[in-house]
Symmetry: C2
Subunit: 199 residues, 2 copies
């Protein structure tokens, strides 16, 4: 509960409320699962991964009421949602979920994010996407370079599931942690099976 | 201008406005200098360091006007303001400025931040504070572990300037980049003088 003293990120609560009345706001379940998982790893000293706060464009502040924001709106994240450090390596990833059963649509990945991932890659950082196929109850870790190449060179607007299955690693799901993210990172980037520290 | 399509982070514009009428909001100059410097390094492919958006606690959203936030307030950052990757290493730092000419007060560093820095350190990340003595026009890079030790074990509520001068590295100031942050990081953590890529 280090990150948010009241146990939950307020912006997320607000978004969840939004989600209840507007089904276009998908991915809240994935985000909440990832948040619980990174908290699990953080508390056990396994990895330090944090979610970047949702950027908010503040239009008007009422200073007579102690800097109360009275007009603002949510902005798109121009980098990625998550970053941190694991075994000395820099980790940077974006989480996306889709209702499709056959492919992962690229339309909500921005060029800003692709450029960010390329820059991180050039600095020797680890980048990937966590992709949840909601209807299939499957979550995958797909390397950032694969997505970058597909995004920049592919003719298609989505990555077929078959291609993801071939190139990605499935992130196992459980109770604690909800998503076995570090186990997947270990397998892909450190060529290790489940580390002792987690067992 | 990758991070903020309109060239400036809106929250910062708002804070600057705030700063104009309320001098308690110090550190905006330091923040703006660091932001310009990390942008400089990012555009040249030297390092990828980003500022975490200011966390905002959203209280009320008006969905009849396209998810317009109508009540919210600024929150304290529970981690640090900046993180990123340089030469494969994870970098995490906090920027603070003071009007004092003799010491760096610790009262606005939270225990949450200390715990965060300890965790990053345990994962092999690089942590430090960028400390600006406004009245002296001096900016220092002070290693995170030094601050953690002083914070947890010291009896004093501030770090004397003499001790900072002994243990920190001065961050040179110039025009482009405004603060030669990477040069200082190189010297302290990579034991290298100004890298060729920057020259």
């Amino acid at each position: 509960m280090i990150n948010y003293p009241n146990g939950k990120k307020p912006v997320e609560q607000e978004k969840q409320k939004h989600s209840a009345i507007n089904h276009s706001n998908r991915g809240m379940q994935l985000e909440s699962d990832i948040n619980a998982s990174i908290e699990y790893y953080m508390e056990r000293g396994i990895a330090v991964i944090t979610k970047r706060p949702t950027p908010i464009n503040v239009v008007k502040v009422d200073y007579t009421r102690g800097a109360r924001i009275i007009d603002a709106y949510f902005e798109k994240q121009s980098t990625t949602d998550y970053n941190g450090v694991y075994k000395g390596r820099y980790i940077d990833f974006e989480a996306k979920s889709t209702l499709s059963k056959t492919s992962f649509p690229l339309h909500n990945i921005t060029m800003h994010q692709i450029i960010h991932l390329q820059r991180v890659h050039a600095q020797g950082g680890i980048t990937f996407f966590v992709i949840a196929f909601e209807k299939l109850s499957k979550v995958y870790l797909l390397d950032g370079q694969f997505v970058i190449d597909f995004y920049l060179n592919g003719d298609r607007k989505s990555i077929p599931l078959a291609l993801i299955k071939e190139n990605a690693t499935e992130i196992c799901q459980g109770f604690m942690p909800r998503l076995q993210l570090i186990e997947a990172i270990n397998e892909v980037y450190f060529h290790e099976k489940i580390p002792e520290s987690i067992k």
